[in-house]
């Protein structure tokens, strides 16, 4: 629990909390980027440099953009005139989330001593990652490619303007 | 091929860039406050009132005939006639402007006042550095501020001024001759019609009647060309 850890954790959690509570949706998206940047810092702290940077590249550079585009596209940056920002079942949601956290936290704290497995920081180079990807993980890689392609096609089809519905 | 036109364009700007270090043609800037474009003789900016001699008031050619005031398209001239008279350049007593204001914040520099003036009294200046922070004090010019000497006129429009001088000298000579003749006639026949020559002399030679000036600017227009031959001619006839 070094101070750096605390700061980063605070940063991340505050961002996450803001992302789900703020009124203005664009603010939520920006808060999300803060939370994700915090996570990237965690990854760096955990010596996963490549993952950390990839997180920034993909989440801040692309996913955040996608989210704000979606917000602008659906014109949901203004709070709805009728009703609040929360759904009708908000209380249930909060209770469930709290319960989940309670269970998880309890489990973590219970098993904390068992997790003690201090190991030296591994020096993961991109070269190693490349070798692993091209070697053991080549099949998952191809599957990811397939997934990405189908996601691309699927998302485009879903989001694309169908000719039939054009006025 | 894609990009060919772009390269051609790049070559053109590069030529201008390189050329700007070696040729005047490619670096046309005139650095204004220090350098100036060579003055062009015909340039006009705002009107001024010409006076002969040293005293702007005594030598002022304007006789407050108010033609320019009437003809001025944007109506920027304001003239009040004087109650008394002063002698003009031929020595005849004339009305003069008690007040002659030009609001150069309204003036459109069209030169029509110059064209219609039968007395060669109003001309166009070339002064343009008139920017001021004072809207009324700086831009509403009274007759003193408007007065410029004939020398100034010669300096800015030499050809035109020479012609004007020649014409005026001619008129003056004519008027003097007439006066002399009148005096002689008077001396010869003191009884016969004493009022007539005086009345004639009292009128400006160039504009005897209000319709008269219509011809005069025409003459001015025809005589204005820069042709040096004509100017010489004018000068010769003047001297």
């Amino acid at each position: 629990m070094t101070p750096v850890f605390c700061i980063v954790a605070l940063f991340t959690l505050a961002g996450g909390l803001a992302a789900v509570t703020l009124k203005n949706t664009v603010h939520c998206a920006l808060a999300l980027t803060v939370a994700l940047a915090g996570l990237a810092l965690f990854f760096l702290r955990l010596d996963a440099q490549f993952v950390g940077f990839a997180q920034i590249l993909i989440y801040i550079g692309a996913v955040a953009i996608l989210v704000v585009f979606a917000i602008l596209l659906t014109r949901s940056s203004e709070p709805e005139a009728s009703g609040g920002i929360v759904s009708s079942r908000w209380l249930a949601g909060v209770i469930i989330a709290a319960a989940v956290f309670a269970v998880l936290g309890w489990a973590i704290l219970r098993s904390a001593p068992a997790l003690a497995h201090e190991s030296a920081a591994p020096a993961v180079t991109v070269h190693q990652i490349g070798t692993a990807l091209m070697g053991r993980y080549v099949l998952p890689l191809e599957i990811v490619a397939l997934l990405l392609t189908s996601a691309l096609i699927g998302a485009v089809i879903v989001a694309m303007h169908e000719n039939g519905s054009a006025k | 091929m894609l990009g060919e036109g772009l390269l051609k364009g790049l070559a053109e700007t590069a030529r201008n860039f390189a050329g700007s270090f070696v040729s005047e043609e490619r670096l046309t800037t005139v650095q204004y406050p220090e350098e100036r474009v060579a003055p062009i003789e015909n340039t006009r900016d705002f009107p001024f009132l010409v006076y002969d001699g040293d005293d702007w008031h005594a030598g002022m050619r304007c006789v407050a005939c108010q033609i320019c005031e009437k003809e001025c398209p944007p109506k920027c001239i304001y003239i009040e006639k004087s109650k008394d008279k002063k002698p003009d350049f031929t020595g005849k007593p004339q009305i003069y402007p008690a007040r002659f204001d030009i609001d150069i914040s309204v003036c459109m520099s069209c030169q029509i006042c110059v064209e219609v003036c039968p007395f060669e009294a109003i001309k166009m200046d070339t002064e343009f550095e008139l920017s001021t922070t004072d809207r009324f004090g700086g831009l509403l010019l009274d007759k003193k501020q408007l007065s410029r000497s004939n020398e100034h006129y010669h300096k800015i429009h030499p050809t035109e001024a020479a012609e004007v001088d020649a014409r005026l000298a001619e008129e003056k000579a004519k008027a003097e001759a007439k006066a002399k003749a009148a005096a002689a006639a008077k001396a010869a026949a003191p009884v016969a019609a004493p009022a007539k020559p005086a009345a004639e002399a009292g009128k400006p030679a160039a504009a005897p009647k209000p319709e008269g000036p219509a011809a005069s600017p025409q003459k001015a227009a025809e005589n204005k060309p820069e042709s040096p031959a004509k100017a010489e001619q004018g000068g010769a006839s003047g001297s």
Binding site: T25, A48, Y59, I85, V86, V100, L115, A116, V124, S165 | -
Partner: protein, 103 residues
């Protein structure tokens, strides 16, 4: 002290926040933001377990995290695409309204 439980706690908290967001917000995009948060919390767990796990040199958790990021990105693209598509037809991003209108 071993820092692993700290990371896990943060991840759990983030997960809970994401869950709460996903369950409580009316705006479908914010629901997706909540889900993103949950996925990232899971990612943090993956990396933390890899780092403090028994065989960090095997890179399993590490690569799993990369794949997870890729999958999450694909999920976000499709999910948001769906929201846009629904919005085009129902003119709303309100989950409650969607429920009402879908019948």
């Amino acid at each position: 002290m071993n820092p692993l439980p700290g990371y896990l706690l943060v991840a759990a908290l983030l997960f809970a926040i994401g869950l709460a967001g996903a369950l409580t917000r009316r705006n479908a995009i914010l629901v997706l933001i909540g889900i993103e948060l949950m996925l990232n919390a899971a990612n943090l767990n993956l990396i933390a377990f890899w780092r403090y796990g028994p065989h960090p040199e095997a890179l399993t958790g590490f690569l799993f995290a990369i794949f997870s990021i890729a999958v999450a990105a694909a999920e976000a693209a499709v999910g948001l695409g769906l929201v846009i598509s629904i919005h085009r037809h129902l003119r709303t991003t309100d989950i409650d309204a969607m429920n009402r209108m879908k019948g």
